[in-house]
Symmetry: C2
Subunit: 443 residues, 2 copies
C-alpha cells in the first residue's frame, strides 16, 4: 500500500493557458508542492516540480517519523511551462517515465494521488499500468476532472442537491449578464462577483460594486460600476478575459462583504463519503492562510454547512468521482452560510488535515488547532529550526504541539516559505505565532 | 394537473449558433414540433413554432379523444431566428408573455414540459410563476440543461457509472486528438467518429476512416484519411468546426460499421426512474425513422442495455435532473451493445411512447409495434385521411391499430410530413406501411 504523490499544483485544465501565469507565481505554487510531502508515509513516492533541499526532506521525514530511505522524491526534467509547473511534457517525458516506472515497481505503488487528476495524470496512470487499481479512473479518464473543476458544474450540482448558494447564474451572453447583474444586484446597491468557469484561488474572479471600498476577498480586484453604462463598458472590456477568449461561460453571483470564507473537506471512496475536517480563511489582520478547525464552528448554523457539503459529495460520488473534495462557503452577516464552490482535488488544507490526523488521530480537530502562516521569510532552514528549538516553540513530539516549517523555498537561498503552528487552543496557537514572528525576526 | 408543452425542438444551447442552420431544415424541425401535440390531454396548452392547420389540430384531438375546446395552441410572434425555431426573443416577447400568462391561469397549468429545458425556458418558467412547482428547476435554472446536453459530460458519467461505451476520449488539443485517433484506431484499420460537444441528431458528427465506403450513420459524412498526414490535414481544416470556433472540446470514438442504433427512454421523477420504452432506427432500405419496440430486443444482451440505461439515469437523477432521459446505443457485430449518448430532454420517440401508452396502456410495447415514416408526401390532410379510411388502414379506435398522420407541414399547401403506423406485429406494421405507399401514391 504505497502511494505515488504528484504535486501538480496548477494544470492547464485548472487555470487555462499556463503560459500566461506570472513566473514568480509559478515558483510560489511550485514550492507549495512541498505541502504534499506532509502526506507521506513509509514507502511512498513524491513527484515535485522543483527539487527541495535535502535538509528539508530530512526535516519532514524526521518530523513525520518516516523510516530513513523509505521514501523517494523525483523531479522530472524541465519543460516548456514556467518553472514550478509540472506540465504534461515534463510528466510524460520518456526518460522520466522510465525512471518513474522503475521507482513505482521498486516501491510497490498501488495508488496515484495527484494534486489534480487531469488528463495528463490519466495518461500517466495508464502508462504506469495503474489504471485498473485507481478508484474512479473511468470518470477521470473521460474528462471528469475538468467537468468537476467547472464553477458552472458546481452551480448546477448545488442547485440539484438543494444546497444554499449565493443568488446568481451561469451564462455565456454578455447582454444577459449585464441585464442580470444590473437588475438583480447593482441597481439594488449590492456588489457582485464574476467568476471564470475554470480557475483557482480567486485568480479568475473580479468583484464589481456600485460603490467604493469593497474588499475583494477571493477575487483579483474590485471594480466600481455606478451605472448600467459603466457596467456595460466594464463587461465589454473584460469579456474576453472572463470567458477565456470566448471559450467558456461565466458565473455571476451576489458578493457578500465582510463575510468569512469557510472550507470543509471530504474523502470519497467506493463505499463512503468521509468527513476530514473544516477550516476558515484568516481575515485579520490580512487575508493570509487558514485556521483549522474553523473558529466559527461554534455557530449554530455551522452543522448545516457540513450537511450541505455531504449532500454535494453525494452527487459527486454518484458521478463516479473518488478522492478528495473540498467545499467552500461564506459565513455572511445577513444570509447565513452560503456554499460557493467545490474542488475535486487535493486542497490547500489537505496536508494540514493529514498532519493533524498523523500527530493526534482522527479526532484531531477536537484536540488541536493549526494556524497556517504563508509568505514568511526566515533564516536558512537549519538555522530557522535551531531558533525555533532555542525558543522552545519548535514542534515537539511529546506535546504534539509547536511550529513546523511546512514549505521552504527550493531556490539556492531558501529562507522563505510557510509554517504550520500547532497548539491545543486558538489562543495558544496565536501566542506561538506571535513568538515565531519575534524570535525569527530577531535571529 | 394541466401541462404547458413548449415545442422548442432546437435551441442554441443544443446546437450552438441557430443562425447557421439551413432555413429548410429549420422549417422541417419546426413542423416536427407538432409531435408534442400527441402528448396532450384535456386542459393542456401547447406552444408551437409555426401555426398548424386547424384541420390537423382537430384530427389530433379527435384521435386522442380530447374534449373539444379544452386544449389551446399558441404561437409567438416571429423573431430573429429562422422560421421554425422557438427562439428566446419569441418566447420572451412581452406581448406573447401576457397572452401566455392569461392562458396559463385559465388552464390551471402546473407543469412546464419543453422539448429542451434551456435557460430561456428557465426564465419563462420564472416569469410564469411556475419555478417552485417545477421538479428539478434548481439544476435547470443553473445551466444544468447545457451541462447534461454535453457529449463530454456523457462520456464522463458513463465511465463513472461503469457503462460500456465505444473506446474513445474527450479532448481539446488537436495534436492529442491526432495522436490518439492514429495510434488507437486508424493505424489499426478502424474508422472513428468525431463529435462536437454540443449538437443533435448527428449534425455535429463526422466519420473518418482509413478506407472508402463507410456509411456515416449518425454523422454528416464520412471522410477518408489514409495516412497520418491526411489525418493532420483533415483536423487542421475542420478543427474550427469541430470545436465550435475553439469554444468546446470534442469527443473522439471508435466507429462501428454495420451496427444498429438503439434507444431507450426513461422518466426521472423525484422518487423514481421509470422505464418508458425502447426503439431502433430503421436501417433498411435507408435510415429513416424508428421502430418501437426495438426488434433486436430479442437479443440475449439487450436487457443489459436497459440496465445500463437505468445506471446512467441513476447518476443523472443524483445530479437533480427531473424529466425525460433518452439513452442511445449501438448494437455492434463484434463488441455487443455500446452506449454512445444520452439526452436529457424530450426525444424523437417520446410522442410515440405517449401515443402507445394512450391507446393500449403501460404495457403497450408487448402488444403493439409502431413504425415511423418520415419525410412523406401526401395529399392535403382531409384527402389523405379519407384515402386511409377508404383503404381501411386509417387508425381505428376499435382495433387500436392503423395509420396516423403524426406531422403535417404547416405551410399553405400541407401535404408533407410523418406517419405513425400502429399494428400488433412488425410484419403487420410493415404490410400497413406498404399499403400506405401504394394507396397514397395512387390517390
Amino acid at each position: 500500500m504505497s502511494r505515488l504523490f504528484i504535486s501538480n499544483q496548477r494544470t492547464d485544465e485548472m487555470v487555462g493557458d499556463l503560459g500566461v501565469l506570472d513566473p514568480e507565481y509559478c515558483r510560489y505554487v511550485g514550492n507549495q508542492g512541498q505541502r504534499m510531502a506532509w502526506c507521506m508515509r513509509d514507502g511512498d513516492l513524491l513527484v515535485l516540480p522543483m527539487a527541495p533541499h535535502a535538509a528539508f526532506l530530512g526535516y519532514v521525514s524526521e518530523t513525520l517519523g518516516i523510516t530513513p530511505g523509505s521514501v523517494d522524491v523525483l523531479v522530472p526534467p524541465e519543460g516548456g511551462a514556467p518553472e514550478g509547473i509540472l506540465s504534461s511534457d515534463r510528466l510524460l517525458d520518456p526518460s522520466f517515465l522510465a525512471v518513474l516506472r522503475d521507482a513505482v515497481a521498486a516501491h510497490g505503488i498501488d495508488e496515484v494521488v495527484p494534486f489534480h487528476f487531469d488528463s495528463t495524470i490519466s495518461r500517466l496512470t495508464e502508462e504506469l499500468g495503474l489504471a485498473d487499481v485507481t478508484p474512479g479512473f473511468g470518470l477521470l479518464d473521460q474528462g471528469g476532472g475538468r467537468l468537476l473543476n467547472s464553477k458552472a458544474t458546481f452551480r448546477a450540482l448545488a442547485a440539484g442537491a438543494g444546497v444554499p448558494v449565493p443568488d446568481g447564474f451561469v451564462c455565456d451572453s454578455r447582454k444577459e449578464v449585464e441585464r442580470y447583474l444590473w437588475e438583480r444586484f447593482l441597481s439594488h446597491g449590492h456588489p457582485a462577483i464574476l467568476k471564470q468557469d475554470y480557475h483557482v484561488a480567486g485568480f479568475g474572479n473580479e468583484v464589481i460594486s456600485p460603490f467604493e471600498g469593497v474588499d475583494p476577498v477571493g477575487a483579483l480586484r474590485s471594480v466600481v460600476t455606478r451605472s448600467r453604462d459603466e457596467l456595460a463598458k466594464y463587461l465589454a472590456d473584460r469579456w474576453h478575459w472572463l470567458t477565456d477568449g470566448g471559450r467558456n461561460r461565466i458565473v455571476a453571483e451576489r458578493y457578500f462583504e465582510n463575510s468569512t470564507p469557510l472550507c470543509a473537506e471530504f474523502r470519497l471512496t467506493d463505499d463512503s463519503v468521509v468527513f476530514l475536517g473544516h477550516g476558515e480563511m484568516r481575515m485579520q489582520p490580512v487575508l493570509n492562510g487558514h485556521i483549522w478547525p474553523a473558529p466559527s464552528a461554534d455557530s449554530p448554523i455551522f452543522p448545516d454547512f457540513i450537511s450541505d457539503g455531504l449532500g454535494l459529495c453525494g452527487s459527486i460520488h454518484a458521478l463516479g468521482y473518488r478522492g478528495i473534495v473540498s467545499v467552500d462557503a461564506v459565513l455572511t452577516t445577513t444570509h447565513g452560510i452560503l456554499v460557493n464552490e467545490f474542488n475535486c482535488r487535493v486542497s490547500g488544507s489537505t496536508h494540514a488535515y493529514e498532519f493533524g490526523r498523523g500527530i493526534v488521530g482522527e479526532d484531531w480537530q477536537d484536540r488541536r488547532v493549526i494556524i497556517e502562516m504563508r509568505r514568511c521569510s526566515f533564516p536558512p532552514l537549519d538555522r530557522a529550526i535551531q531558533v525555533l528549538h532555542d525558543h522552545g516553540i519548535a514542534f515537539d513530539h511529546g506535546t504534539r504541539s509547536g511550529v513546523v516549517v511546512a514549505v521552504e523555498d527550493a531556490g539556492p537561498n531558501g529562507g522563505y516559505g510557510e509554517y504550520l503552528v500547532v497548539a491545543e487552543s486558538l489562543a495558544q496557537a496565536e501566542e506561538l505565532e506571535r513568538q515565531v514572528g519575534t524570535c525569527l525576526l530577531l535571529s
